[in-house]
């Protein structure tokens, strides 16, 4: 059974990964023998300088999902490389580093620093965090998406993925802009801008006022967006959006995703990522599919 997939020139042993910001402290809490089985790990987004994140309240539970407005709390790229990366590398699973710059210069500078280190398989550009008070997200503007992808591609030899926002009229236009600019793949979807109101206080529940909605609640929209993007671009798609089990993940793969990431559901079932992998293998066995590529984009 061949489960391997490729993004750019990098091969991943299987298509199952975790969405950025949902995987933490593996060395302390996870069974590393199990973690070693997944296709790739995507740590939480790193910025050039350290960020404290947004004021609490940062999360809210919603029907079949959650809102978050963490605000990319992270130690900054240098400290990340020094203090967090070694533990991730030790796991031995390919790493896709998610990065975010607040302007062109920052994206370029982070890319430069990543270029100097070894053991990174790919970079994911977070062009779509909805919680940072920017008026427009990069991934809401095809021109800005193109510009950022181009400048990062110039700095990096490893594959570059553009993570896209669902908060757009037509996500396939943005995906096309990323492809034309040289992106090796696209990741979709990031969270949907949303809010929850406390009716007693008549205030927004979150400290950041709005947040990003994720979880099974958004899954059918995400599947549709992956389908739409798959019809428009030729580069691989890394799909995420409410995946809880293999059946969910397979919908995304049939729609056209080469890789699938479990995100929010890691918080509910820390074993979900592994269960997705096992379930995909079972599906292939039952349906006598020898190569995972036969599933990708197989929608009739």
């Amino acid at each position: 059974m061949n489960l391997s997939v490729k993004i750019g020139n990098v091969k991943f042993l299987n298509p199952v990964t975790v969405a950025s910001g949902t995987f933490g402290h593996a060395e302390k809490y996870y069974n590393l023998e199990e973690v070693k089985k997944i296709g790739a790990i995507v740590p939480k987004t790193v910025t050039l300088n350290a960020q404290a994140g947004n004021p609490p309240v940062r999360i809210a539970e919603t029907p079949a999902g959650m809102l978050n407005a963490i605000g990319i709390e992270n130690p900054g790229i240098d400290k990340f490389i020094e203090t967090k990366l070694p533990a991730f590398k030790k796991i031995g699973v390919p790493l896709i580093i998610s990065i975010l710059g607040h302007n062109d210069k920052e994206f370029k500078e982070i890319a430069r620093r990543i270029n100097k280190i070894k053991g990174i398989s790919a970079v994911e550009l977070n062009l779509s965090c909805p919680n940072l008070k920017h008026k427009t997200l990069v991934a809401q503007d095809p021109k800005a998406t193109s510009r950022i992808v181009k400048l990062v591609k110039k700095e990096l030899k490893i594959p570059v993925l553009a993570k896209l926002s669902p908060n757009v009229t037509d996500i396939s236009l943005i995906a096309k802009a990323a492809e034309d600019a040289g992106a090796d793949g696209v990741s979709l979807v990031n969270t949907f801008t949303a809010m929850v109101i406390d009716i007693e206080k008549r205030k927004s529940v979150l400290g950041n006022f709005t947040g990003g909605l994720s979880g099974p609640a958004i899954r059918p929209i995400a599947v549709y967006m992956v389908h739409k993007v798959y019809q428009t671009v030729k580069i691989p798609i890394v799909a995420m959006g409410g995946i809880t089990c293999a059946q969910d993940a397979l919908q995304f793969m049939i729609a056209g995703a080469s890789m699938v990431a479990v995100g929010t559901y890691n918080f509910v079932n820390p074993r979900a990522t592994l269960e997705v992998l096992t379930g995909i293998k079972d599906y292939m066995k039952v349906n006598k599919i020898k190569d995972i590529k036969k599933i990708i984009g197989s929608l009739k």
Partner: protein, 260 residues
């Protein structure tokens, strides 16, 4: 992928007083491992409603793992429906525990508000018969919020109770009980758990008398593994996660404030 996630059987799920329940879980391995102040993150059912797990301080860890809870929303409502023999999905123990008092401590003052009393039974289980003077100051809304303090008394704790309406103990807040103790900065240690305004009052009291202390905090939580950074609170050294850096913090490090 977490080695800490397991399915166990419910031993019992009793209503102990009008507001509070005790769930006993046949989870000896967790009970053996858990330290006072740590918690378990429980999935109350298999549906997406409620979506998150729910964090519960461990109340007692002997043969079984006990959690003590109040029915306040859909999660605890679902938990209260668990029957003997039902499966329960437990992640834990997780979180930073209480640091146990040093040998030079003499008086251990536990100050609890409402369901915040939960981590103090296991703490007093560990501290009993070690020569400490154990004191519990406990505040609840009404009589229905005050679980009979039998187990604490069996552990040798002096128990003082306050209720908002005076239906049990002193009328008023738990801060009305501060006068019950004679603090000594070199030998009195404070442990507190309860609503933020109450812990802020405890912090002010501890500051006034130069007492060291620890506080167990509570926040809405998603992962409980330090991954999502959703449960962060403000401290003197920046935002810290309640699930991973806490739930126990140095009392004087926490910045209590209304976020809105």
């Amino acid at each position: 992928m977490s080695a800490l996630q397991n399915i166990f059987k419910v031993v019992s799920n009793e209503r102990l007083c009008p507001r509070f329940y005790k769930l006993s879980i046949d989870a000896g391995a967790v009970a053996k491992k858990v330290q006072p102040g740590q918690f378990v993150h429980i999935r109350v059912n298999d549906s997406f409603q409620p979506f998150f797990r729910r964090p519960f301080s461990v109340y007692r860890a002997k043969k079984y793992l006990d959690v003590f809870y109040e029915v306040v929303g859909p999660g605890t409502k679902a938990l209260s429906n668990k029957k003997k023999g039902d499966d329960v999905d437990v992640l834990g123990p997780v979180g930073t525990p209480f640091t146990l008092p040093s040998k030079k401590a003499k008086q251990i003052v536990m100050i609890a508000g409402g369901i915040g009393v939960a981590p103090f039974l296991i703490l007093s289980d560990r501290l009993k018969q070690q020569g400490f003077e154990l004191v519990l100051l406990y505040g609840g809304r009404t009589k229905g919020h005050v679980y009979p303090m039998k187990e604490f008394k069996q552990n040798g704790c002096k128990v003082f109770v306050a209720t908002d309406d005076g239906s049990v103990g002193v009328k008023g807040r738990v801060s009305n009980l501060f006068s019950k103790i004679v603090p000594d900065p070199s030998t009195t240690v404070i442990y507190t758990c309860g609503p933020s305004p109450m812990m802020a009052a405890v912090q002010a009291f501890a500051k006034r008398y130069h007492l060291s202390g620890q506080a167990a905090c509570e926040e809405v939580m998603a992962c409980a593994l330090g991954a999502c950074l959703g449960c962060s609170i403000k401290t003197t050294s920046g935002y810290k996660t309640v699930c991973y850096d806490g739930p126990v913090f140095n009392l004087h490090e926490i910045i209590f404030e209304n976020t809105h």
